[in-house]
């Protein structure tokens, strides 16, 4: 069933799914560009359309703390954030994952300070990539809907029990109104079971002290359990995606391949830029170039085995990172990809683009394809869309 068509932006799509998932406690703090999500949720609760408690807390640190407390009592609880809000949560992010709480949290990606920026890049969520949360990246509003619905099912699977960030590009997806299929309540009820805590639970009938000091004898084992949960997730995610396809006829994978069948040059990326890459792929294909796109949907767990197989016979691979990966040889996504390929036989270039709200345009992607055709292996990052006088802007002359 394809469901009814709605006009939604990413923020309202996230709010609609939180309602459809029958979340009972929402604690949130306003931050651009995800504020509309929490405004919509507060309206849904106020009007009675949603049976939940909505609390505008005094910080993101409290938002994540509050929903951890709520979810531990046995209900779905959520928050939503961006940028410095996510950074402020950092101390508590690992508590949700360490306590194996299947919280689903939408993130509208926005650059981190400094300098201040309101606009999209991926540094906020990339900074949390090893925090024990599953991370999905949505290309468009439809993917926000679908990935969020699937996220509850995946997170709550008893062999996974990991929290999930569903990341979508600030403004580019969060504020872009698109036609989407939105399932109805009874269909989501059929897909998502009623929430029951499967692990840690604050219940006076079965007292349990949660999250106390843990000795070196146990700590590694508890981390290892999380590692195993990610391995399980690599198996469970495709199963849930299959189930979703059977019910809603929209197909997902750990990554999406676009015209890869005979490709010689491939761009790997994540988020909304994939739409532009696919568009340019079509254009280049008309010119006779065998180009393709792979969009990573699940960044954590990272689908390394499946990707290794796919990339085995690709001559030239370009990876676009929308975060700088400062001090590292490569950006976060490129580091993952480089470890999967044979650098001696395959050409590999990492591009940094689209930081702090800079558009990744058709032109940017064309430049990348042209560069991939001509350039040699780059041992480090290539800042493809930076102005030639980058080191001269806002320069302050200091008296000597």
């Amino acid at each position: 069933m394809k469901n009814k068509i709605h006009v939604l932006d990413g923020n309202s799509a996230a709010a609609e799914v939180i309602k459809l998932a029958r979340v009972k406690v929402i604690a949130a703090y306003p931050i651009t560009p995800i504020s509309p999500t929490i405004e919509i949720l507060s309206e849904m609760v106020d009007s009675g359309a949603m049976n939940a408690r909505f609390i505008r807390v005094e910080s993101e640190h409290t938002a994540i703390s509050y929903i951890i407390g709520a979810q531990l009592t046995g209900v779905r609880a959520t928050t939503a954030t961006s940028s410095v809000g996510l950074a402020l949560m950092h101390e508590v992010i690992g508590v949700a994952s360490g306590c194996r709480l299947p919280i689903v949290m939408p993130i509208a990606n926005r650059a981190l300070v400094s300098p201040w920026s309101l606009w999209c890049d991926h540094q906020d969520s990339m900074a949390e990539r090893d925090s024990g949360w599953i991370q999905f990246y949505a290309e468009n509003v439809q993917e926000v809907v679908d990935l969020m619905i699937m996220a509850y099912n995946i997170a709550e699977n008893s062999s996974v029990l990991l929290p999930v960030m569903v990341c979508f590009d600030g403004f580019l997806v969060s504020h872009s109104k698109q036609l989407v299929f939105l399932p109805e309540q009874k269909e989501v009820d059929a897909f998502l079971q009623e929430y029951k805590p499967k692990n840690l639970h604050l219940n006076t009938e079965k007292p349990l002290f949660i999250n106390n000091l843990t000795s070196p004898e146990d700590f590694s084992e508890m981390r290892y359990q999380q590692e195993i949960a990610f391995e399980n997730a690599l198996r469970i995610i495709p199963q849930v995606q299959k189930k979703y396809f059977d019910q809603f006829e929209r197909k997902y994978g750990l990554f999406e391949e676009y015209r890869t069948e005979d490709a010689k040059i491939i761009i790997i990326c994540l988020g909304s830029m994939a739409g532009t890459v696919k568009y340019v792929v079509d254009k280049k294909r008309k010119e006779g170039l065998k180009v393709a796109c792979i969009k990573i949907t699940s960044f954590r767990p990272f689908p390394y085995l499946e990707l290794t197989e796919k990339l085995n016979n690709i001559q030239t691979i370009g990876v676009i990172d929308r975060s700088a990966g400062l001090g590292a040889q490569l950006g976060s996504l490129a580091l993952e990809i480089k470890s999967l390929i044979n650098i001696n036989n395959q050409k590999f270039v990492n591009y940094i683009a689209g930081l702090g709200g800079r558009d990744i345009t058709e032109n940017t992607i064309e430049n990348i394809f042209n560069d991939l055709k001509t350039s040699n292996i780059e041992p480090s990052k290539k800042w493809i869309d930076t102005s030639p006088n980058a080191c001269k802007i806002r320069r302050i002359e200091v008296e000597k």
Binding site: K24, V25, A27, A52, R53, I55, V57, E58, S59, H61, T62, S65, Y66, I67, I68, G69, A70, Q71, L72, T73, G74, V75, A77, E91, V92, V95, L202, N203, T204, K206, P207, L208, F209, I210, N211, N212, L213, T214, S215, E217, D218
Partner: protein, 260 residues
């Protein structure tokens, strides 16, 4: 003590003031309580690895989010119609008046139905005696080797400005008074905040046998006042007719003595 919900052997320091408070609090609140404890001395009761000393459900939160987690637990219980469970935030002065002040203020503003007990031992004791906002002026700690130059932060006045239904100060030297206050907190529809003056022999420099004596002297010298504020009305619980000179409190503790 009947209804003892904390095991007998806990490795707090000899003469620990806070041990009295936590044992009494759970004794009064009973099994239908969920306790939230941040890292700090009280975390000794959370236990270590697969052992805990507490037989009610509990959660060890981060240092700055006791009130946030407690509020969230209450919201989760509310949404399931569970009304017969007390939610107890149990934090020291550092986790309350310093790093936890923001989340405390948020909870007080919302008037979440939480009983928040701050055991005030007037410094970061569990990390080895560093001064907090609640350390009194002139007190020597590891981070105020010359004596603290700043006066003690008056958290009770900060709490009062949030207009919650029940606020109390209490002392481990006046157990009956403390008991009455926790009993009253059980009946409050909203937040109750109880601030307990909790001497620490290790950090303050007195004999473990003197904990109650030191606590009592703080009240008798009028350095620590026992009162409650019920729906905005302040009531003094212990009127001191013959106020003792302050030195009787200060001189029995090493922390106020600078070695010449």
């Amino acid at each position: 003590m009947n209804n003892n919900l904390i095991s007998k052997s806990v490795n707090t320091c000899a003469g620990c003031g806070l041990e009295i408070v936590i044992r009494l609090a759970l004794n009064i609140l009973g099994e239908k309580t969920i306790i939230v404890i941040p890292p700090g001395c009280a975390a000794l009761f959370s236990g270590y690895s697969n052992e805990t000393t507490i037989s009610v459900p509990g959660f060890q939160c981060n240092l700055g989010n006791t009130a946030a987690v407690a509020g969230g637990i209450r919201a989760g219980l509310d949404m399931q119609g569970i009304e017969d469970v007390y939610v107890l935030g149990f934090a020291g002065d550092g986790a309350t008046v310093d790093i936890g002040l923001q989340s405390l203020s948020g909870m007080l503003e919302r008037n979440d139905k939480v009983i928040y007990i701050c055991y005030d031992n007037e410094a970061y004791m569990n990390t080895g005696i560093q001064d907090s906002g609640s350390t009194p002026g002139n007190a020597i700690t590891r981070t105020t080797p010359g004596g603290k130059l700043i006066a003690k932060k008056d958290i009770l006045r900060i709490v009062e400005s949030h207009n919650i239904p029940y606020i109390a100060s209490a002392s481990v030297a006046y157990i009956k008074d403390l008991r009455n206050k926790i009993e009253r907190a059980k009946t409050v529809q909203g937040t109750s905040y109880i601030h307990v003056h909790t001497p620490c022999p290790t950090g303050w420099g007195f004999q473990p046998s003197q904990t109650i004596e030191v606590a009592k002297k703080a009240v008798q010298t009028a350095i620590f006042e026992l009162y409650e504020i019920i729906d905005g009305e302040k009531k003094t619980n212990k009127t001191i007719n013959n106020i003792l000179p302050e030195k009787e409190y200060l001189e029995i503790q090493k922390r106020f003595k600078r070695e010449e």
